[in-house]
């Protein structure tokens, strides 16, 4: 019998009222990273981050959350790795629906994230990647739960906040996954227009559903494109504008992550992060240098090698150079 804490309660009727009030006008929503975070992300709220791990993540938005000193945030951790690492460095978060955090996959575990978890500074409820993706889907569909065949029989199940149900047609035992409507969804995309219509190239992970599930959505985009271009190929719109509250244009906004077709991950810098986390003191110095000590994300990019570094990572992404050339340990 699952006994994990349900960090966000499914409330389809309350969400219906919320979505009814959400503006549907085509009004320009372009703003700065600073203003977007100041206006739309508040202490204590529950966040969900698009992309996957180090891939297509909204790094610029996450840095700004740390820079503005948000506290007491909740997080949906469906393979949140560098994103979790950034928020844990704050530390901005105090509770997590966790499927996969802490690790940066093959790169190792994040010491500061471990300190948070093992120091008892986080409330954790266990889930799986699919469970969290389906929980967004349930919210996007406007239903309070979805059935699934995962987690059953394990401690992951016991420490989740799922419930067991029986299929009324087959009698099958199923997991019921409660709809998850984050307060804020943060998503980095390839292209957006000023109203928030978005395109993503490559895998979309869970972002189509996340954008529909969240109360508020902040989009950072590699580039703005004309609204007419959206209308020229409506098949490619993965997020419609009325889901979106703010749009910021941040070229390189996923750095040091991998933005498909744009630039590869900066493995050296990710390694520098991990090493800086060894002690709270080295982490502090690192954050001072890269986040608190710069005005904005452009300042961070400059300290990381600026345009020439991004150009190099673009060559790696396009496989114009051998990836061993300084890109991995």
């Amino acid at each position: 019998m699952p006994r994990g804490e349900l960090l966000v309660t499914p409330e389809p009727d309350a969400m219906r009222e919320w979505f009814r009030q959400k503006p549907k006008q085509l009004v320009p929503k372009v703003t700065t990273v600073k203003t977007a975070v100041a206006s739309w992300v508040h202490d204590g709220e529950y966040l969900a981050v698009g992309g996957f791990g180090t891939n297509r993540i909204p790094t610029a938005l996450l840095h700004e959350i740390v820079r503005q000193g948000r506290r007491g945030l909740g997080l949906s951790g469906h393979t949140a790795t560098h994103d979790f690492q950034i928020l844990a460095a704050g530390p901005c978060i105090d509770r997590v629906d966790v499927a996969y955090v802490l690790g940066l996959e093959a790169r190792g575990l994040s010491p500061s994230a471990r300190r948070l978890c093992e120091g008892g500074l986080l409330r954790l409820t266990e889930w799986t990647n699919a469970a969290l993706a389906w929980r967004y889907r349930a919210a996007a569909m406007g239903v309070p739960f979805l059935p699934a065949r995962v987690m059953l029989g394990t401690d992951t199940w016991e420490h989740s906040a799922a419930k067991e149900i029986q299929c009324p047609f087959t009698g099958m035992r199923l997991a019921a996954l409660p709809a998850l409507s984050p307060d804020v969804g943060l998503i980095h995309v390839h292209e957006a227009d000023v109203y928030g219509n978005c395109r993503i190239e490559g895998i979309s992970v869970a972002d189509a559903d996340l954008a529909r599930a969240a109360r508020r959505v902040i989009i950072s985009a590699e580039r703005l494109i004309p609204h007419e271009e959206i209308r020229r190929e409506p098949t490619r719109t993965i997020i419609p504008y009325f889901c979106v509250d703010a749009v910021v244009e941040v070229p390189g906004g996923c750095y040091p992550g991998n933005m498909p077709y744009e630039y590869f991950s900066d493995e050296e810098h990710l390694q520098e992060w991990l090493e800086a986390e060894r002690t709270p003191e080295t982490l502090r110095a690192f954050l001072e240098k890269y986040i608190f000590g710069v005005e904005d994300f452009a300042g961070y990019l400059d300290r990381c090698g600026g345009r020439s570094r991004l150009q190099q990572l673009r060559r790696v992404e396009l496989m114009l150079v051998q990836e061993s050339e300084g890109m991995r340990r």
């Binding site: 992309g51 791990g53 297509r56 389906w134 065949r149 987690m151 401690d155 992951t156 199923l174 992970v205």
Partner: protein, 257 residues
């Protein structure tokens, strides 16, 4: 005679189980290397997928992340996490590979934490990620793992992903799809399968130079033993050449031995 390290041996052994035309969801590292190697050998039509959405890429190099752009490079589709997980849930995926900190005799896996279950954990690991999903939904789960008493334990500190749970019929009783479960475990010492009747782990082949006592000494539970106990077939020169030259030329995985 060719020399090889344990990681190379494990990858080559794993690759041989992936038949042509099968589907497999892999992570990074050894499983991905095994899948790539299989494709270059006997299974050019092995369909490789990644849980973040990558489907059937022409993998140019080993991905660093299961969501990086290599995972759908020239893929047949760049899809989504739900697309891949739903493929698994409706029975279209034959194999998956899991990793973890602990495994028990029923193939249950812990990748969440060490220490008593009450929070905060003594040691916290990443958690399930997609592991529990894949172990629940794919037909056959495999594991490539170092083996010792700390990893092969009588009782997991936390059961992240389901093997056969507590024995025959337990998966089905819990609601997991019938006919699924752990298939092979490949360590530096031996290849293990699971006994049909008891669902307990059993030694099926010993790596060259390894004896059964050594395998049992490195397990915290009593191992069953297959009626026939051959020596694991070592990597061929062709396997090693492809693995070293084409699959993992920078020794990201095989250098970790």
């Amino acid at each position: 005679m060719t020399t090889y390290n344990s990681m190379e041996l494990m990858i080559c052994l794993a690759a041989r189980y992936l038949e042509d035309g099968a589907t497999v969801v892999v992570g990074t590292g050894a499983p991905c290397a095994a899948a790539m190697l299989a494709q270059k050998l006997h299974a050019p039509g092995l369909v490789v997928m990644f849980e973040a959405g990558g489907m059937g890429p022409l993998l140019p190099t080993m991905p660093i992340s299961v969501g990086d752009s290599r995972t759908f490079w020239r893929g047949i589709s760049a899809s989504s996490m739900t697309e891949i997980m739903e493929l698994c849930q409706r029975g279209m995926v034959d194999y998956t590979f899991l990793g973890g900190a602990q495994i028990d005799q029923y193939g249950n896996i812990n990748s969440t934490q060490i220490g008593p279950r009450d929070l905060p954990p003594r040691v916290r690991f990443p958690g399930s990620g997609g592991a529990n999903d894949l172990a629940s939904l794919c037909w056959r789960t495999m594991m490539i793992t170092p083996q010792d008493q700390r990893r092969f334990v009588p009782r997991l500190d936390f059961m992240t992903s389901p093997g056969y749970l507590h024995g025959p019929g337990a998966r089905e009783a819990a609601g997991l799809p019938p006919g699924t479960g752990p298939y092979k475990v490949i360590t530096q010492l031996a290849v293990f399968g699971f006994d049909e009747a008891t669902k307990r782990m059993r030694v099926e082949s010993l790596h060259p130079g390894v004896d059964l006592a050594q395998v049992q000494d490195n397990a915290g539970f009593t191992l069953l033993v297959a009626p026939q106990l051959p020596v694991s077939m070592p990597p061929s020169a062709e396997e090693l050449a492809l693995l070293r030259r084409e699959v993992d030329p920078y020794r990201y995985v095989i250098g970790r031995n």
